[in-house]
Symmetry: C2
Subunit: 184 residues, 2 copies
């Protein structure tokens, strides 16, 4: 279904994360894996490649990621809409989400957390700064390795609006000719 | 062009910010106003209504917002695409952006920074926590007042991909029936 992924420059992950998609965060702790949905995240820096993520402490994944200091941010497309909704509406305390949703765990290159094969892209992350975890459940991760499917060039991502609704990715427009070279 | 805005619950601003749009951040300091584009932001909490924003220190707006501790996050649509690109490719040190781009500054209700009338929504923000400003230029704001146009219900927002390209908002889909009530 999803084409094989290729290595992708970690300094360019904004290409996939800045538009604000819902992502699937996979983690592993003491031989158990889990997946959660996440909509509250932002790019913070190109190099090192930093991403800030709000992970509610009520999530089963919270302690797994807090303890392992690692995770993978995976980018699903509309082909996985019902899977995304399903993952967000059950708990890893009760369900093996890879098995339940028929997803394929693949070994990461640099972190001890599984990639999700069916996603368009996977970004391997290591905890970079936990200064705001206590106060805001806000983790700052460094993307240490990135994998992206070669096609399609513009994956049809999901963008959560709340209330069970998603905006899906629409047409791409370019204004490159109107940008200063250092503002792209 | 843009319909009059109405008050909107600050705890619901995720409806507009979680999908990850490019926003226009307006500020005022010592009687001068400015506008910057911003793509690196995330919702952090419903109540208080918190939003985290990465504002590069090289921006003219950085010091204005650092000193005033206030700003307005405005939501443009594709009707303003060229305005958004123009604003992101000049500096408030040299240009009065409201005048240059024919935008209308309106007084905010609760902060000393201008709203942009031509945008679909405007969120008045006060600095809530500057713990990560030194290290990451990351500001945590509280949205203290929100204004949203009554229509359209689904504004055609811009989502920056880098390299001068934008993804525009596409079709809306609902899976509300598949959500648990406390997961919406």
């Amino acid at each position: 279904m999803v084409k094989p992924k290729q290595p992708f420059p970690v300094s360019d992950v904004r290409r996939y994360l800045e538009p604000g998609p819902i992502v699937l965060v996979s983690s592993r702790w003491q031989d158990k894996s889990n997946i959660m949905t996440m909509g509250w995240h932002t790019v913070l820096e190109f190099t090192p490649s930093l991403v800030g993520c709000m992970i509610t402490s009520g999530n089963h994944s919270f302690n797994m990621i807090r303890k392992s200091g690692q995770c993978v941010i995976n980018l699903p497309t509309t082909a996985l809409t019902d899977t995304v909704v399903g993952i967000g509406n059950c708990s890893g305390a009760e369900v093996d989400k890879f098995a339940e949703f028929g997803l394929t765990a693949e070994e990461a290159s640099a972190v001890d957390a599984p990639l999700i094969r069916e996603c368009h892209a996977s970004f391997e992350c290591r905890l970079h700064d936990d200064a705001l975890v206590e106060r805001y459940n806000f983790f700052i991760f460094e993307v240490v390795h990135a994998h992206v499917a070669a096609s399609p060039k513009h994956p049809e991502t999901l963008h959560y609006l709340g209330d069970g609704q998603f905006m899906t990715a629409g047409p791409i427009i370019s204004r490159k000719s109107k940008f200063l070279p250092d503002r792209l």
